[in-house]
């Protein structure tokens, strides 16, 4: 057979590797800032752009989409070429993929601190960035599928299946979750409302974990662990089962983020059952990764790359054991809304994604620069400070999670809440937050050491931009089915078929989960007293979303006695039907706000937003002085009402014209109420709108109670 000569594109791999390091540093630094803010609130700097509510989305987006995202591209662009024995399909597409992705990241880094957000966790980016992501993802898909099609190796190695499934599923998730109607360049409303929005969002959120943080990295594991250990994967059979079971099961598991919420019971149970089943493929994959080192464990002592990878795969095993446990309703009752969840995701992010990325970079950069790692000692230092950093991060937060949850739920012998003041449960865990800062800082120091080490390495070597390779062309006849050949290998040879099959598999789960909720009216019982927000409340809600209040406050009182005692009546699905987007939140750094309406006077909210510690001494909440200085922008109110009407919110016809007058009247009445309490403020300020919204929260149902009482 005649050998064809071709060249691997290492330049694109190098670029993505650099971007991975850069954004890793940025994302982790922002994360450290967020951790510090939770200990010393003055670090919010009293600036809108640097408050926790805007910094935390910046951190999560930077780490997930910038650090891990570039990590995925680094690994895929390196391994795909080698596994396909072909250069990437098109160099221009590779370049567009690289620069486009960096531009999107920069857009995110600018818009999120500016408060331009959709208010949906891990999908905060506004509509035009969503469109750019979609286009960019298609570019990546074409480039990948093109490479696979022009390959010189008939079999598609398992890593490539994971890449294909990643491409397909992320596309579906992103598009379905990002349906929104723009009001203007900076603002859009989710087309889904309340329970439906929550279900779609967590179907997305969970599967972003699955198909952005897990499947591509499993692909990288199946390539780079055998590479680093210089031996094939433990069981290829297991990897086939791992693949199909994982993508089949993962897509169903989303509702476990919404246990005990207003989501219908059947959907909650479905999520739990599939989450428990997920344990099998996840651990199958972990065992497959670890057993690849069978008989070669001595290499782990020598190889820094393998050290990182072993910890990564172990962290994957821990996180995927914990996940199903957390999806059990009785465990979730304790863990949900606490720092336990934060600890859990950081085992995944710092351990699995972080360490696998580091292992890959330490292996890959010396390779494409044809040199040795600058300092093995420094890499060893990185390994240990990183590992200890993970422990210092996670263990205090597990402790904090348990402590807070137990304190929330504790009753005295007389049947009263033992800690009725939420703040007591916050100050109690402050030392744990301090330890978390230490852990995060240690981890970051390790990464800085790595970046230094790799810069030195790169400087000592020369990039082999186009690496020469040879392989025979793939003969046409190899596509013909040989009698007696195994069916799955036929699938393996047909990438497009694999793509379509993966798509069908994940759509089945998504459809089964969501269609019934959209359809069956009885799933979301309507409550007649629940009315659309007034124009002022709507503006106030937009401020609530802009400031990222949902990062620390839930709007979901679960049906537990400990919660109804503390907050009031538990939340009903029908109360959220006009919430575009839903704001249930996932973490209670502060108390739940669903029943905050009319609990305190307007003046309390005013003073609390100006300086939280004046009303709640010891509070960790940032101050929001700009809400008092800034004039509320009402120029879009007409358009906002129109968009809401388009989404089915029953404002009367032509109400958009009347909205501004109603808004002004309501804000004047709030301002005059504040004046009675000796707070003199113009009625056109943002704080007035926010107070209007907060005072409305969860009160509609009280109206229905008083009506019933009167009857």
């Amino acid at each position: 057979m005649e050998l064809e000569k071709y060249y691997y594109d290492n330049k694109i791999v190098r670029n993505f590797a650099y971007a991975t390091m850069l954004w890793g540093l940025v994302g982790m630094l922002v994360g450290l800032l967020a951790a510090i803010q939770l200990v010393w609130p003055f670090m919010n700097l009293e600036l809108p752009y640097t408050t926790f509510g805007r910094i935390r989305p910046l951190h999560t987006n930077a780490v997930i989409f910038a650090f891990v995202g570039n990590g995925i591209f680094t690994g895929v662009y390196y391994s795909l070429q080698r596994l396909c024995k072909a250069r990437m399909f098109n160099d221009l597409l590779s370049t567009i993929n690289f620069w486009g992705w960096q531009l999107i990241i920069v857009a995110a880094a600018i818009t999120l601190p500016l408060g331009m957000t959709t208010g949906k966790e891990y999908a905060e980016l506004e509509w035009w960035i969503d469109i750019a992501i979609t286009l960019l993802w298609v570019v990546f898909g074409i480039n990948m599928m093109g490479t696979i099609i022009k390959r010189r190796e008939k079999h598609l190695y398992v890593a490539i299946w994971f890449y294909i499934a990643t491409f397909v599923t992320v596309a579906v998730l992103h598009i379905v979750n990002s349906f929104e109607i723009p009001v203007n360049f900076m603002k859009s409303y989710s087309v889904y409302a309340g329970v439906q929005d929550a279900l779609v969002q967590w179907w997305y959120g969970h599967n972003a974990v699955a198909f952005f943080l897990t499947t591509p990295y499993l692909g990288l594991m199946y390539y780079f662990v055998p590479k680093a250990a210089n031996r094939p994967v433990y069981s290829y059979r297991l990897s086939i089962i791992h693949f199909w079971a994982l993508i089949f099961l993962y897509i169903w598991a989303g509702p476990h983020h919404l246990l005990y919420t207003a989501l219908p019971d059947w959907a909650q149970s479905l999520g739990t059952v599939f989450s428990i089943m997920l344990l099998a493929p996840s651990w199958g994959g972990m065992i497959n990764g670890l057993l690849t080192l069978r008989g070669a464990w001595d290499k782990v002592r020598e190889s820094i790359v393998l050290k990182f990878m072993v910890v990564a795969v172990t962290a994957y095993g821990m996180a995927t054991f914990e996940g199903p446990m957390l999806s059990l309703k009785n465990v979730n009752a304790i863990s949900h809304f606490t720092d336990w969840t934060v600890a859990h995701v950081h085992i995944g992010a710092l351990g699995w994604n972080g360490f696998l990325t580091f292992g890959m970079l330490y292996w890959l950069l010396p390779k494409i620069f044809k040199t040795e790692l600058y300092s093995k000692k420094l890499a060893g230092f990185h390994f240990w400070i990183g590992t200890i950093g993970i422990l210092f991060y996670a263990i205090p937060l597990y402790w904090a999670g348990f402590t807070q949850s137990l304190m929330w739920k504790e009753f005295t012998a007389d049947g009263f809440l033992k800690y009725p003041n939420f703040l007591e449960t916050v100050t109690q865990i402050l030392p744990m937050y301090q330890l978390r800062v230490v852990g995060g800082a240690m981890y970051l120091i390790g990464v800085i050491a790595m970046v230094f080490n790799l810069i030195k390495t790169v400087k000592a070597g020369n990039l082999v931009a186009n690496e020469e390779a040879e392989a025979p062309a793939l003969l046409k006849q190899s596509h013909v089915h040989n009698p007696g050949e195994h069916w799955h290998r036929r699938i393996e040879r047909k990438p497009v078929m694999l793509l379509v099959l993966s798509l069908i598999v994940i759509l089945i789960g998504g459809v089964a989960e969501m269609v019934p909720t959209f359809l069956v009216k009885s799933n979301i019982p309507t409550i007649s007293s629940v009315k659309p927000y007034t124009p002022l409340e709507l503006e106030g809600r937009d401020i609530y979303v802009r400031e990222g209040c949902y990062n620390c406050h839930s709007q979901m009182v679960r049906p537990f006695r400990s919660e109804t005692e503390r907050y009031g009546e538990y939340s009903k699905a029908g109360e959220f039907v006009y919430d575009h987007p839903f704001q249930w939140g996932s973490k209670r750094t502060g108390p739940d706000l669903h029943r905050i309406g009319k609990k305190y006077p307007d003046s309390w909210h005013f003073n609390h937003m100006l300086d939280p510690t004046s009303m709640s001494p010891g509070s960790l909440m940032p101050s929001y002085p700009w809400l008092i200085d800034d004039v509320l922008n009402t120029s879009d109110i007409e358009k906002k009402i129109q968009v809401m009407q388009q989404l089915g919110v029953p404002y009367p016809d032509g109400y958009d014209k009347q909205a501004l007058a109603d808004l002004t009247a309501q804000s004047k009445s709030i301002a005059s109420g504040l004046a009675n309490d000796k707070i003199n403020i113009e009625s056109d300020r943002e704080i007035i709108a926010l107070i209007a919204y907060l005072q409305r929260l969860g009160t509609d149902i009280k109206a229905s109670h008083t009506q019933t009482a009167k009857q």
Binding site: Y157, W244, E470, L519
Partner: protein, 65 residues
């Protein structure tokens, strides 16, 4: 939301989740059975794919990293 109306017009749409569950179980069992019937010779060939480029292109480059 408008697309709900389209979905609602599908008769018997409530059976969809049941069908998908069945599809899942049947598919999964089939994968399980078939995987154990694969012949190990070609499996061996596939699982060595990641290690091939070193052997082909850089003989002698198999030293420990």
């Amino acid at each position: 939301m408008k697309f709900i109306n389209y979905l609602e017009s599908i008769s018997g749409v409530s059976v969809f989740p049941m069908i998908s569950l069945l599809v899942f179980f049947i598919f999964f069992i089939l994968v399980g059975i078939k995987v154990y019937m694969m012949d190990s010779k070609s499996l061996n060939e596939i699982m060595n794919l990641p290690l091939q480029d070193d052997e082909i292109n850089n003989p002698g480059n198999l030293k420990e990293n």
